[in-house]
Symmetry: C2
């Protein structure tokens, strides 16, 4: 498939994928995809990633229900990073926060500016 | 420095950094930082990255003038990805497009939806 052929997977067969919320524009997370995760994402219309710790491909939200419906998909200039624009169900972060990027730099430290959703 | 201590650099000593435009909200690029690039970014207030091909740290826009003034800096939940919110001078992409993510998925192919700026 020509979509896959343009993607430069790294030496581990993975490509980083950035996920951005279609509504708020917030960057929600960064995760990795292998070829199968890209294909599953394309086939189903929902974001799939590759877990480096579990060494397997997974559907985001499979257990939590916090799925990501893909609205648009972009590839960067050198073909080695994917950007997904998605509709997020529930919080994107496993800490139950809307975005994984909740630690903000304030002077010499990181400050969590958002509480987990209840 | 406690800011550095919370960042999980990978086995190559690098951490991915996503750059988002403060004004438009567009994701502009993804690049890598080593410890020195993080420190230079913090010290100067302008984005610095690490070039894996040139094996050296560089200031974004050093030669092109397309510098990135850092407005905010975030770290993700597991400490292994940085998000920079920046004011971009000129185009962010080396192809002279505003963002590196100009290849959009349309069916089975990637389509460049933006022309380089003149």
């Amino acid at each position: 498939m020509s979509l896959l052929a343009s993607i430069k997977f790294n030496e581990a067969g993975l490509v980083p994928a950035i996920t951005q919320d279609a509504e708020s524009g917030r960057v929600l997370m960064m995760a990795w995809m292998n070829e199968e995760a890209v294909l599953q994402t394309l086939d189903t219309g929902f974001a799939h990633y590759y877990s480096r710790s579990r060494k397997s491909q997974w559907k985001k939200g499979e257990s939590s229900g916090h799925i990501q419906e893909v609205v648009e998909m972009f590839l960067d200039c050198d073909g080695d990073t994917i950007l997904l624009i998605i509709n997020q169900t529930g919080p994107a972060c496993h800490t139950n926060r809307p975005s994984c990027f909740f630690q903000q730099r304030v002077n010499d430290t990181w400050v969590s500016f958002e509480k987990p959703q209840e």
